[in-house]
Structures are given as structure tokens and as C-alpha cells.
């Protein structure tokens, strides 16, 4: 039986400031070493100042993952030397000998693919800085450090080895991403906002840790590779060593990391500069009350209240950006239409964060579109064109319909005139159409072309058949 466990690090990118100081939590736009202060740089004499919202958001995550939360939390020092650590220790949480459970969440669970995945522990900790390498060759390479990221708030989520295969892992990560985004604690799409390590064992054998995985895509690959590697060793009756391996992104394999990692001695002890913090039931109740609606509840609501198809509701509820758009745009009567428009057309058009960021589409546009389609002012085909334009320039629908000449032609006499025109242009087709029904469709297409998609397709077909004397 394959057993896979995960250790996920998630940045709380929705916070304004770092975990222990007032520097910006999102460091991405800064020049190197300009988002720093004496605290996150560990300047002698500086003291950490715990971010209240970080504790709240971490508690939210713990509750959303059905964890126990302790009455008091505390922080510990994990001591080791590394250039990306300004203090040469990391302030983190831990269950150390002699202390009761002190990290933000314990023993939770989440269901993935109908299987219960147990969450062992959730803890708050600070991110280290980043190492950059400069220099052409191995010999001239210089290790440079940018501390902008040092102190960024992280939530570490540790699962039990309950995953059975890489696909299972992937689904969990997607669910977790959606959950975190929905809770408004993190934007998982940001570069580096979510990282994960895995541990893999087969047939109850040695557990192998895999580190240095840079994306969820790679995680699936790494786990898959590792399972295969272990299986092949087992087949040849070779012992699987318990060790830490690194994911080599270039060669797409896991390699044994230097055993230095196993020798680490972290000398965990209490971080005396951060007092213990009481997390009373009052706080938890308040958080519970203000907790955003969960994805599953939202999905149920979409189905029961708006009558939206289950599959559509599933897709829509899982996506924060589009579910918010839906909530703003719909007026209950057009809910199904809006939902379909989003899932069928818009999701495809705004499939990346960059596209969403520059999109000028607003809820008002959607409700206008839905209304116009319903009242036959515009065909579905034209609506698609309109959407494209709206996304680009945000102009009101009426303007765009004028600009692009997208009005819906459903007036019989106008259409008949156009049909007559087309039939005279396509003489051969007109003759053949009486015998071959396929050709009728071709003619409908020509009418659509001539009207730039504005002609009502059904009416066109009816009128054409009438004109040609074909049975309706």
C-alpha cells in the first residue's frame, strides 16, 4: 500500500505586513533588500512583534480544516546556520517535549475523492530570505541574499501519509488552493505562494522525504517518480533507505540529498520574545461567524437556490474570482444564464491571472448581456464577440453592439430580403438544397456571414426552408 504524506507551506499573501514586523507581506515588487527593517533583518537588539491578523487567519485555516485549536499558542526557535536566515534561527511552532500542544491547529481532516485525509498539524512560521546566484561558471558563482521575503508569514500544513497515489495528491492541492483563496487568506496563484514537500513509502517500508519541489505540477511528477523508483528497488529486493531526496527539476528525478540533513540538531526552545497568546473561545466564535462561506456550501446554494446544474455549480463555486462575479451579476432570474455564460465562455477567455488583472469586464456587462440574449437583441454567437471586446475595453454593451454592428436581426422581412440576396448569389446551392438538407445549413451559414452573425439562426432556417419550398 503506497503511503504519501505532504508538508505544505502557504504564504499568507492577503496580510498587509510580515509575521513579526511591519514590512510588506508581499515582497514581490521590491528591489532587493528594500523591504527590510531591523526586526526582519535580525539587527542586534530588535524584537519580534507578532501580527494579530496572522494569528486570526491561521486560526481560520485550522477551523476550515476541522482542526482542534489550543487555548494558548506559543512560538519556538529552530536553530541552524544558513545565509537566508538573518538570525540563524527560524521562529516557528512546534510540539516540544514538556509542552502541551502549542501550534495553531491539531488533528484535523478534509475529504478528497471520498477519502478522509487527516491533517496532523498546522503551524505559523516565518519564511526565510532568498538566495540568488550570480556568475557565469561554477567557480565564479557568488551567493547573494535578498532578505525581502524574510519574515513573510507562512502557514505550514502537515498531513498524515493518507494519500494513495499522485492523482489523489494533485486533487488535494487543488482543493486546498481553492479553500485558501476562498477564506481570503492567500492568493495561491502568486509565484512561490504555495510550496510543498512530500514523503513517500510503499508496502509499509522506509519513508523517503522529497524536498526542493517548486510547483504542484512537479510535486505530482516527483511523487510518481519516487513511487516508481521504490517499486523498482523492491522488485529487485534492494532495501529502500530512509532518507531525504531532492527533486532535480532538470532531469526530472529524485536524487539523494547529502546526509548532512539528517544530522541537523535544531535545539528547539521557546521564543521568549513572543509571549504566549490566549486564543479564547470568544475569538474563535467571532472568526467562525465571519468565516467566508465554504465552497461546498456555496455549491449547494447555487444548486438549490438558483437551479444551476451540479457540474456548473461545482466549477463556479470553486473559483473565487468567478463566483464573486456571478454573485454580483445575477438577479436570480438570470442566474442560470449568467452561470452558463461564465463557465462556457468567460472562463476560457480569462484563464490566467494576468488576463483577469487587465480585464475590463464587470458584473454590469454580464447582466446586460444576459438580458440582451434573453430578449433576442443579440445572438449567442454575437454575444461571444461582444464579450471579447468588453474584456478589452470595458465599454457598455450598447456601445459595443453599435461599434461592431452586433444587433440581432429577428425581423422577418429584413431577414427575408437578405435570404433572397443570398439565394441569388448562391444559385447552385439554392438548386441543390431542395435535394440535400445539408446544403440548407450551408445557406444558413451564408446568411449568418452576410449579417455578421446577427441573423437569428432558427428564424433564418425556417424562412430559408419556406423560401425553397422545403418541408419544415
Amino acid at each position: 500500500m503506497t503511503m504519501i504524506g505532504l508538508e505544505i507551506h502557504c504564504q499568507l499573501t492577503k496580510l498587509e505586513s510580515k509575521l513579526f514586523c511591519s514590512c510588506k507581506a508581499d515582497y514581490r515588487e521590491f528591489e532587493p533588500n528594500t523591504n527590510i527593517c531591523p526586526i526582519c533583518m535580525g539587527i542586534p537588539g530588535s524584537l519580534p512583534l507578532l501580527n494579530k491578523k496572522a494569528v486570526e487567519k491561521a486560526t481560520l485555516i485550522a477551523m476550515a480544516l476541522d482542526c482542534d485549536t489550543p487555548p494558548q499558542i506559543a512560538f519556538f526557535r529552530k536553530n541552524y546556520f544558513y545565509p537566508d536566515l538573518p538570525k540563524n534561527f527560524q521562529i516557528t511552532q512546534l510540539n516540544a517535549d514538556g509542552y502541551d500542544k502549542t501550534s495553531i491547529g491539531w488533528e484535523g481532516k478534509i475529504t478528497v475523492d471520498n477519502k478522509k485525509i487527516r491533517i496532523r498539524r498546522i503551524q505559523l512560521e516565518e519564511d526565510p530570505g532568498r538566495l540568488i546566484y550570480e556568475g557565469a561558471t561554477e567557480r565564479t558563482k557568488v551567493t547573494l541574499v535578498d532578505y525581502n521575503r524574510a519574515g513573510t508569514p507562512l502557514v505550514e500544513i502537515v498531513t498524515e501519509p493518507d494519500f494513495e497515489n499522485p492523482h489523489h495528491v494533485r486533487n488535494f492541492l487543488n482543493i486546498l488552493s481553492d479553500l485558501l483563496e476562498n477564506l481570503d487568506v492567500s492568493d495561491p496563484g502568486l509565484d512561490g505562494a504555495m510550496r510543498a514537500d512530500a514523503n513517500v513509502s510503499i508496502e509499509g517500508g522506509s519513508k523517503v522525504e522529497i524536498k526542493n519541489i517548486n510547483s504542484f505540477h512537479d510535486l505530482e511528477k516527483a511523487v510518481h517518480f519516487e513511487i516508481t523508483r521504490q517499486q523498482s528497488l523492491a522488485e529487485r529486493k534492494i532495501e529502500i533507505i530512509q532518507e531525504t531526496r531532492h527533486w532535480d527539476d532538470r532531469r526530472k528525478i529524485t536524487v539523494s540529498a547529502r546526509t548532512k540533513e539528517e544530522e541537523e540538531e535544531y535545539r528547539y526552545h521557546l521564543e521568549a520574545d513572543v509571549p504566549w497568546v490566549n486564543i479564547g473561545s470568544k475569538i474563535k466564535n467571532e472568526l467562525q461567524v465571519h468565516m467566508p462561506e465554504s465552497i461546498s456550501i456555496k455549491k449547494e446554494r447555487y444548486v438549490s437556490k438558483y437551479g444551476i446544474a451540479l457540474q456548473v455549480a461545482d466549477v463556479l463555486a470553486s473559483d473565487k474570482y468567478f463566483s464573486e462575479l456571478f454573485e454580483k451579476a445575477n438577479n436570480e432570474t438570470n442566474a442560470k444564464d449568467i452561470a452558463n455564460m461564465i463557465t462556457t465562455d468567460i472562463m476560457g477567455l480569462l484563464d490566467t491571472r494576468e488576463k483577469r488583472e487587465i480585464s475590463k469586464l464587470e458584473a454590469g456587462h454580464l447582466s446586460d448581456l444576459a438580458e440582451s440574449i434573453r430578449s433576442n437583441k443579440i445572438t449567442r454567437a454575437s454575444a461571444k464577440l461582444a464579450l471579447d471586446e468588453i474584456i478589452k475595453n470595458g465599454k457598455p454593451l450598447s456601445q459595443i453592439m453599435e461599434d461592431l454592428n452586433l444587433g440581432h436581426i429577428s425581423d422577418e422581412s429584413t431577414l427575408s430580403d437578405i435570404i433572397v440576396q443570398v439565394l441569388s448569389e448562391e444559385g447552385k446551392a439554392a438548386k441543390d438544397a431542395k435535394q440535400n438538407p445539408e446544403i440548407v445549413n450551408f445557406l444558413v451559414g451564408k446568411v449568418m456571414q452576410k449579417t455578421h452573425g446577427k441573423a437569428d439562426p432558427e428564424l433564418t432556417l425556417t424562412l430559408l426552408k419556406k423560401n425553397l419550398g422545403i418541408e419544415l
Binding site: N35, G98, V142
Partner: protein, 91 residues
Amino acid sequence: MKNLVTEEEIAQVAKLMKIEIEDHSEHLEKVQKMLQYFDILDEANVESEKLEYVGIEMDELRDDRYTPYDKKLLKFLKTYKEKYIKAPKLS
């Protein structure tokens, strides 16, 4: 007879703490004596003692606000090309 900490163990710990001790014997002797003195801790009979801590309330914590540090901290640090901190090569 209490086990004295060996020279090897001390060398190992020194390496962990990134401390060079060339004059092993002076430090070795003093550290051994200090650790030997710490054996007295065993006589205190405090096994059953529970560690308790007074906590502070959530509203005593810092508000989540971004305030850029107003001084150029880099001026006080050892910088490389005025932007980065240079670290020795990692093995």
C-alpha cells in the same frame, strides 16, 4: 562515577555552533567542569513540575499594517553592489 563529556562530543557541539576551539584542553577542562556542576540539577527532584505560562490577549498584538522602514537600512550593512548581501559559497 558520572560520565564526563568527551573531547569528541565537545568538538561535535563546537562544530554545530560554528565555534573553533584550537586550544582544546583549556576549553575542554572548563566545559567539563561546568557540565559536571550541572549534574546537581538531578538532585532537585522536579520531574513532576508542570511548566505554565501566562498568556497575553489577542488584542495586545500588533495590528496588521504595512509601514515601510523609513531609514536606509542597507547603509548600515555590508552590501554587495549596494543591493545584495554577499554570502560565502555554499558547499
